[in-house]
């Protein structure tokens, strides 16, 4: 059915598109592809037999394939399975991850798909997982007419046809008409066959029977002749007995096999002797093909032939029903997955509406109820029909009329139909259905895959960004696989042997030759991992693709899963880059354009000077013994007045514009109370002092940002408004989710040092109440701590209470927007994950490097290129980087601004406290350094603060050049000796601004 349907739709598609497909095709696209949709930039082609796509990029006259073109011949190292996987557009795991299906092996090969034209694109609906078991495709019994019409006639190869025919024997039950029945051992012939005898319409049987009849006739003749030829008679009788025995033996064997076949196909029959005439009545005067006993290899051969014919699994079920056999069940591991490709201007969008995915699921109570109701209705109808039939029979006593009576026939047919429907309902109701939601989903794993001979690189957003050169030969290095937005802390703590830099951006890309693409995961990104691998491991292709965890799980005693599957969309946008743009700078600009277009990222206003980023540590929590009890008390490291003094000192050293993050100035210092109310810590000074500090900063184009952590809550005896059991997020095991700290040496989490993870559900009310109670009018800045770093789910066990990670991203994004728009707060975020970018004044603690995984070849400032000119950013505080000149050079190279984290108190004030990791805080130790670095950085970065980075490249060994849109170029020399680049001298470990020809 489906197959026919698909065929028709394909023809329609071909007809609709036929004209388009024939239009001028300047570039060679593999055979079998037809144009599905096109616009002025792109043409989308689809292969009707494999559902793979090709995108013709008109502005570069290049083609991208969803699966590598020519892989049949090019792929040499992959196993058979891998070669098959190379044909897939998606793959997913389900159940407990034991099973992986892909849309090629488990759908396209079974032709279980349908291509549908939609506006601007195509939609392919896959039924993944064979709907039925091929073993069931060899029907045990088929009525003669159906067998010949549907099966035999649709088999093209006469040899195959013969093979199928030979595997069956035509059987019917005929009236005895006085003939003798060959008895079957141990069976009650009357009970089994009633007044009928079993007839095999088979040449072998027929010739035997004919011979027998002939002999019988001759014997009768002889006997009538009253026997002189006693010897001849005896001979004939012996001959007849022989034939009879042969016939009897063959009949018994064949009949027994047939009865066993019936017994085996019926769950309710245990022994052959339990069968009755009712079970065979459909054979009465109806010749039916019955499967002979056949060898296993022949069985498989038949499966193949019949599957290729027009005979469908539905037909098998029909025939079984008609022959009173149990109908073979549909497979349970069957999934319906739609995949859409859309053209959006110059971009291709691949979309999987996850909510439309249908996966095996037990019937809900409601569905069961509904089934029962519908069945009851049908049963009522059936009773009614039976009554009608009975009345009809009663009214027409004349049996002869009845047989040809149309009404009678119509009624019986209806009854038949209804009974069957009821049986279907029964099946549906009875069938044990597993619950098999999808766990992970891999989308377009081979899109743009680059072959062994290609040059270029894969771009992954690890930290600032990293490149994996195509075919770099690092076949022993592990695959790159990192989650977007870092780990979900609600999945529990884990060992941290190495500190990774986070993937803050949901993007990835690939460049081969002079073409490149950048993919932006627009929806479902919080569930995604970006995976990249080089050729030479499993197959000959370099690949990069996203994998989505639709249902997170974790092992703790037993494996525990999120209560439900993700219900949003998966949506990946592919942006195509050609020629000059086809590099990581082009990719960064593509993403920048995307952010501007979709999220309204605004360019920074022009300023002559760069701001100086400063974190001030207000109050900390320390244990002090009082009367023998170690009390936690709040002690100031920097009071408001002292902060003012630091500002004065900064001014004196030439730093006028300061963006100040004041940390630890809410009640109880760094480990501040639950911020349902914005209460300030009293040990730091008076409110008016803080206000005047803010005013002072505003007056010099700077700003005060109040550090507040909304998403992690410090444990304490009494909470102001935080109810851990209600407002805290949950781990998958139902316990309260905690963000643990980790031991610096072992990387193990410390069970007694944690913060609660706030459930995203209560984030918005919390932020609302914080701003409602914020009495400081002069402060216009807020630094929502860690909001740009963490996205955590709430795995509450009730499905409607669960907040999955994508929902959490939505909530955090909305809250940030609300802060910015409704509460008109200026924001500094940390990290920062992409969702925070549209609302941030500045990003601090941005990764300046990548993790440098072994598979990675190069680190690039992708993130910095995306943001420069739109949002100010900087990395880690300079004073905690060990006075490393290389780090400062890195800041200048990437256009990042000076940033320190200070206290007024001496550095040793934190000794013996929990803040020992802030190992160099005293401002006095760094003031001179800050002054000189700011002056030097301001001189080169000031003129380009509002400019886009248009190029970044290595110009000599350890010398990098960053070029800005206004023609300024900054040269950074990491060598320990001066270098001269095109006549420009750059000092050892120095940097220099040069003006280009004014591009």
């Amino acid at each position: 059915m489906l197959q026919r349907h698909m065929f028709i739709s394909l023809i329609t598609l071909a007809l609709i598109l036929g004209v388009g497909g024939a239009s001028a095709r300047a570039v060679e696209i593999g055979p079998g592809f037809v144009l599905a949709v096109e616009n002025e930039y792109l043409g989308l082609y689809i292969h009707r037999d494999t559902t793979e796509i090709a995108v013709h990029v008109k502005f570069g006259n290049t083609v991208w394939y969803s699966n590598p073109n020519g892989r049949e011949t090019l792929e040499k190292i992959g196993s058979a399975t891998i070669k098959q996987e190379l044909n897939a557009q998606f793959a997913f795991t389900y159940s407990d991850g034991r099973y992986t299906l892909n849309n090629y092996a488990d759908s396209v090969l079974h032709q279980q798909y349908e291509i549908i034209q939609i506006p601007n694109g195509v939609r392919i609906e896959y039924t993944v997982g064979k709907r039925y078991n091929s073993e069931h495709m060899v029907p045990p019994m088929v009525r003669q007419d159906r067998f010949e019409r549907i099966i035999l006639d649709s088999i093209a190869d006469p040899k195959d046809r013969q093979r199928v025919e030979d595997a069956y024997i035509l059987v019917s039950l005929e009236r005895m008409d006085g003939t003798e029945r060959i008895p079957l051992a141990g069976l009650d012939m009357d009970r089994l066959f009633g007044d009928y005898r079993l007839v095999f319409h088979d040449p072998a049987f027929q010739s035997l029977e004919a011979e027998l009849a002939d002999l019988n006739a001759r014997i009768a003749d002889l006997q009538e002749a009253n026997g002189e030829d006693q010897a001849e008679l005896a001979g004939l009788i012996r001959q007849r007995d022989n034939i009879y025995n042969r016939l009897a033996r063959d009949t018994q064997t064949t009949a027994n096999h047939m009865l066993e076949l019936i017994r085996d196909r019926r769950a309710d029959v245990e022994k052959v002797s339990d069968l009755t005439f009712a079970d065979l009545s459909q054979l009465v005067e109806t010749p039916t093909y019955v499967l002979r006993r056949i060898a296993g290899f022949l069985q498989r051969e038949l499966q193949r032939i019949i599957e290729a014919s027009d005979y469908t699994f539905e037909d098998v079920r029909d025939d079984c029903w008609a022959n009173n056999l149990d109908r073979p069940a549909y497979n349970t591991h069957v999934f319906f997955v739609p995949l859409e490709y859309l053209l959006d201007g110059a971009n291709l969008i691949a979309r999987v509406p996850v909510s439309e995915i249908i996966y095996p699921q037990p019937l809900s109570a409601q569905e069961r109820q509904q089934l029962i109701e519908e069945k009851t209705k049908l049963v009522d109808q059936l009773l009614e029909l039976n009554n009608q039939l009975n009345r009809h029979i009663r009214d027409n006593k004349d049996g002869l009329v009845l047989l040809v009576d149309r009404r009678y026939q119509a009624l019986t047919a209806q009854i038949e139909e209804l009974t069957r429907e009821i049986a279907e309902f029964e099946d549906a109701y009875q069938q044990a259905r597993p619950n098999l939601p999808l766990l992970t989903f891999t989308l377009l794993p081979y899109f743009g895959a680059a072959y062994l001979d290609q040059e270029g690189y894969i771009f992954v957003p690890d930290g600032s960004g990293a490149l994996i050169h195509l075919n770099n030969g690092k076949t022993t290095a592990s695959i790159y696989s990192q989650p977007v937005y870092g780990d979900d802390l609600s999945l529990g703590p884990r060992e941290m042997p190495i500190a990774r830099t986070q993937n803050h951006l949901p993007v990835f890309g690939l460049k081969q030759g002079s073409q490149a693409f950048l993919a932006v995961i627009e929806e479902g990104e919080a569930l995604a991992r970006i995976q990249a691998d080089i050729a030479g491991k499993l197959h000959s292709y370099n690949v990069v693709y996203p994998q989505f965890t639709l249902r997170p799980s974790v092992m703790s005693i037993v494996r525990r899963y999120q209560s439900r599957m993700y219900q949003g969309d998966i949506r990946v946008r592919y942006v195509f880059l050609e020629g000059e743009d086809a590099d990581y700078v082009g990719m960064a600009h593509a993403y920048q354009d995307y952010l501007r277009r979709e999220f309204g990222l605004q360019p920074l206003p022009k300023h002559e000077h760069i701001p100086f980023f400063l974190d001030m540590i207000g109050a900390i929590n320390v244990n002090r013994p009082i009367l023998g009890i170690a009390w936690e008390v709040t002690e100031p490291l920097t009071t408001y007045q002292q902060a003012g003094q630091i500002l004065t000192a900064l001014e004196a050293s030439g730093i006028k514009t300061v963006s100040l993050r004041y940390l630890g100035c809410l009640e109880d210092g760094i480990k501040h109370v639950y911020p349902a109310e914005a209460r300030l810590e009293k040990v730091l000074g008076k409110l008016s002092e803080l206000e005047s500090l803010a005013e002072r900063l505003n007056a010099s184009n700077g700003r005060l940002y109040l550090g507040v952590n909304f998403i992690n809550v410090y444990p304490r005896t009494f909470y102001r408004g935080f109810r851990p059991t209600k407002d805290g997020a949950r781990f998958l095991d139902g316990l309260l989710a905690k963000n643990y700290s980790y031991d610096a040496a072992t990387g193990r989490y410390r069970p007694d040092d944690y913060r609660f993870i706030l459930s995203p559900k209560v984030l918005e009310p919390l932020v609302d109440s914080f701003f409602a109670s914020l009495k400081v009018d002069k402060i216009s800045g807020v630094a929502p701590l860690e909001m740009g770093l963490q996205v955590n789910s709430d795995f509450r066990s009730a499905a409607d209470q669960t907040v999955d990670r994508q929902q959490a991203v939505g909530i955090v994004g909305d809250v940030l927007r609300k802060m910015k728009e409704t509460y008109e707060a200026n924001l500094i975020v940390e990290g920062a994950n992409a969702y925070a970018l549209p609302y941030a004044d500045a990003v601090v603690q941005m990764p300046m490097d990548s993790t440098n995984y072994n598979i990675v070849d190069e680190t690039v400032p992708f993130y910095q290129i995306v943001l420069h000119g739109f949002v100010d950013y900087t990395g880690r505080p300079i004073n905690l980087a060990g006075d490393d000149p290389v780090y400062k050079l890195k800041l200048v190279e990437t256009g990042a601004l000076p940033y320190y984290q200070w206290s007024f108190a001496d550095s040793t004030a934190v000794k013996g406290t929990e803040y020992e990791h802030l190992y160099s805080l005293h401002y006095g130790d760094w003031l001179a350094d800050a002054g000189s670095f700011y002056a030097a950085a301001d001189a080169v970065l000031g003129p380009v603060r509002a400019e886009r980075i248009v190029d970044h490249r290595q110009v000599a060994e350890n010398v990098y050049m960053t070029v800005y849109e206004n023609g300024a170029a900054i040269l950074v020399n990491y060598n320990r000796a001066p270098v001269e680049i095109d006549g420009v001298r750059v000092e050892a470990l120095g940097f220099r601004l040069v003006w280009g020809s004014g591009e």
């Binding site: 022993t476 290095a477 592990s478 042997p497 190495i498 500190a499 990774r500 830099t501 703790s556 005693i557 037993v558 244990n623 002090r624 013994p625 009367l627 023998g628 009890i629 170690a630 095991d733 139902g734 031991d743 610096a744 040496a745 072992t746 193990r748 490097d849 993790t851 440098n852 995984y853 072994n854 990675v856 070849d857 190069e858 680190t859 905690l880 980087a881 060990g882 006075d883 490393d884 290389v886 050079l889 890195k890 190279e893 550095s907 040793t908 934190v910 000794k911 013996g912 020992e916 990791h917 190992y919 160099s920 005293h922 130790d925 060994e957 350890n958 010398v959 990098y960 950074v972 060598n975």
Partner: protein
């Protein structure tokens, strides 16, 4: 030997290509250091990876299972074990040498599984040619010089089937050759400069335990012979430093003496005065050292395989810095195998990735080395300045406080020295500084002190005289309040009588009702208060605990629980043993018996703030006196109360102590069972709830 002489430029470009970013890359782990309390605290990075070097970059084909590195005379040599060759190269680019086949005494010879290499300062190369069972000596040009075969004395230790397989080699400046070999547990083999086997060094002699001495008495002569005179020890790596010391690391989990610094006689002279012994990671799973490298000024670095770390210690055993990690990223290792130092750079060989990572020191690390260097060369002033600079960069480099403190000490700035020694958490040095400080203060204020003493003596005299005078008068003018007060103070004052006259005192306590339960409770409360007071206010030198981490509930229960247990068990036992005392009487008597603790501990706590460690015996003696006194009082109290003789009291006392022990033991077991039960219930609950 083959030498590949490439254009220097080509190799430079190759090495340049290996750089991941400009200069040194960031590392995929956070730096840390153990502070004086042995907690791991984040610290500035010590070394940053600058380049990865593998066989292909050198143009010699991929390395295969490389095991060892050696540096000398400007060349790096690598034992490319799996390829049966030694690869030598110059870090500045230029020459690459391969030694696999060579001419030895006129015939062709080749290396087979070379696992160890060593280069002398003159550039001579020694290779532990494992599967050929020999050490091969090449000159600086790579020409064969000689081979040193199996030691001739192997019969002494080895079985018939023993095959000599040298794995590592080191040569000291005098030409002595040290070798470690597979399956040899007697120590390091020492050959003289002519290649003659001299014996084993570095196997620690057995220090018999008491039980061993005991068994030895009963052992037969043969058994005695069979008892090992040394402890079997397996070394994984050795290094010879320029001063003639041999550094060696033992295989297996690191323990206090895993790293040894052996003098030619074989004695271990490594100084282990750091905050923790040189065991690598102090917390978590123990480190497993695989290589050691002697560096300048007695500094040494060790490579750990458990977490892929390089630990560096100074000559006194203080940890200077840590870097490295296990992981699949630049700057981390999969299976670190060997460590080498080139100037101030460090090379780490990774067996997992068949490559060498070249690390450059950060400015922070350069400072540490400079400070130590200045110190070793006697330039204290420069050294201290740098240490101060280091402390500005990292307050957790506690060792630096000691260096700075010492310099203050020599400058006679005792108060500053004390502050630094306290930050550096060294009680010894603090005590030293404090002694000077105390002397200084007393000398400066001698007049004041003398006057104060005179005044106090006078005042005490006056008061006692007046009290004696008014003693009679007071009887007459007692108000009702005073009477009520006396009902409490009377029994309390009686405590003084009891402590000095125990036998009379306890007798009267019981028979004359001179003690009350409320007074006893007050005394007990005072004992608790005194204990807490002592915990919190004992001087830094005598207070091992961090007052900031006090838990007053624990302190209270650690006094009250044993006390109550004593009373209960005492009562329970003595009722069985014809004791005459009631529970109340036991309670009162026991509490009174603790009075000396209050009387002595409180003043001693105050005094402790003015004592140095030199006077610690005085301090501890008096504290011990208070305990003995109290114990004696408890004893005599029990005796008098129950009307026992000495022997019976002694027996009872022992039984009481045993009883208390049993109760505590049972209590612990009970708690443990409860704990297990809770765990069981939660697991069952989890299974029930989630296994659906």
């Amino acid at each position: 030997m083959r030498t590949i002489n490439k254009a220097a430029k080509a190799v430079v470009i190759l090495l340049g290509l290996l750089m991941v970013t400009g200069g040194a890359a960031a590392v995929p782990y956070q730096g840390y250091i153990y502070n004086s309390r042995n907690e791991a605290i984040h610290a500035p990075q010590a070394y940053l990876p600058a380049a990865a070097i593998d066989g292909e970059a050198l143009g010699v084909g991929p390395f295969k299972e490389p095991r060892d590195l050696a540096v000398g005379a400007g060349m790096v040599y690598l034992a490319d074990t799996g390829n049966n060759r030694v690869v030598g190269f110059d870090l500045d680019g230029g020459t690459v040498k391969i030694i696999d086949q060579f001419q030895a005494n006129g015939r062709d010879d080749r290396l087979s599984t070379p696992t160890g290499v060593f280069v002398t300062s003159a550039g001579e190369l020694y290779v532990a040619d494992r599967d050929n069972g020999r050490i091969v000596h090449f000159d600086a040009e790579g020409h064969y010089v000689r081979e040193i075969g199996a030691p001739s004395l192997t019969t002494e230790t080895a079985d018939a089937g023993f095959r000599y397989k040298p794995t590592r080699v080191a040569v000291d400046p005098l030409g002595r050759i040290y070798v470690i070999a597979d399956g040899v547990y007697d120590g390091i083999m020492e050959f003289d400069k002519d290649g003659v086997f001299r014996g084993y060094v570095g196997a620690p002699r057995v220090k018999p335990t008491l039980s061993e001495i005991f068994w030895r008495r009963f052992a037969t002569e043969e058994q005695r012979q069979a008892m090992a005179l040394f402890l079997p020890v397996e070394y994984v790596n050795i290094d010879a430093d320029p001063d003639g010391f041999v550094f060696a690391v033992e295989a297996g989990d690191a323990h206090e003496t895993s790293i040894k610094k052996l003098v030619p006689g074989g004695r271990d002279v490594l100084v282990r005065n750091g905050y923790a012994p040189p065991v690598g990671d102090v917390v978590g799973e123990p480190s497993r050292f695989v290589d050691v490298k002697a560096r300048e000024n007695g500094i040494y670095s060790v490579l750990d395989r458990t977490r892929g770390r390089v630990f560096t210690y100074d000559s006194n055993g203080y940890l200077l810095y840590v870097f490295g990690a296990l992981g699949e990223a630049f700057g981390a290792f999969k299976l670190p195998a060997a460590l080498e130092v080139v100037g101030d750079e460090i090379l780490v060989l990774d067996l997992g990735t068949n490559s060498i990572t070249r690390f450059e020191p950060t400015p922070y690390t350069r400072l540490i080395h400079a400070a130590i260097d200045h110190y070793e060369h006697g330039d204290m002033e420069a050294s201290v300045q740098i240490w101060e600079q280091i402390l500005r960069l990292n307050i957790n480099m506690d060792f630096a406080y000691l260096s700075v403190g010492r310099s203050y000490l020599t400058e006679a700035k005792y108060a500053e020295a004390m502050a630094y020694f306290k930050l550096g958490n060294s009680r010894d040095l603090y005590s030293k500084a404090f002694a000077y400080y105390r002397k200084e203060v007393v000398e400066q204020n001698f007049g004041v002190f003398a006057l104060a003493v005179v005044l106090i003596v006078l005042a005490v005299n006056r008061i006692t005289a007046r009290m004696a005078k008014t003693a009679g008068k007071r009887e007459r003018v007692k108000s009702a309040l005073a009477l009520r007060l006396e009902r409490i103070t009377g029994p309390l004052k009686y405590a003084f009588h009891v402590v000095f006259h125990p036998f009379d005192g306890f007798w009267d306590l019981k028979h004359e009702q001179r003690g009350t339960a409320s007074a006893a409770t007050i005394i007990l409360t005072l004992v608790v208060a005194a204990y807490i007071f002592m915990r919190q206010y004992t001087g830094y030198l005598f207070n091992a605990r961090d007052p900031a981490k006090m838990n007053v509930y624990m302190d209270i229960s650690s006094v009250v629980v044993p006390f109550l247990l004593w009373c209960l068990v005492n009562w329970a036992l003595t009722t069985l043993m014809d004791g005459k005392g009631t529970l109340k009487e036991i309670y009162i008597a026991s509490a009174y018996a603790l009075t000396p603790i209050v009387l002595i501990n409180v003043p001693m706590t105050i005094v402790s703030n003015y004592l140095t460690l030199n006077e610690d015996s005085f301090y501890y003696l008096i504290l011990a006196a208070s305990v003995i006194w109290s114990a004696f009082l408890l004893f005599s109290g029990t005796m008098v109360l129950h009307e026992y003789d000495v022997a019976k009291t002694l027996l009872t006392s022992i039984l009481i102590v045993v009883g208390i022990g049993s109760i505590l033991f049972l209590g612990l077991i009970f708690l443990d069972v409860i704990n297990l039960l809770l765990g069981f219930v939660t697991t069952i609950y989890a299974e029930l709830v989630f296994r659906t």
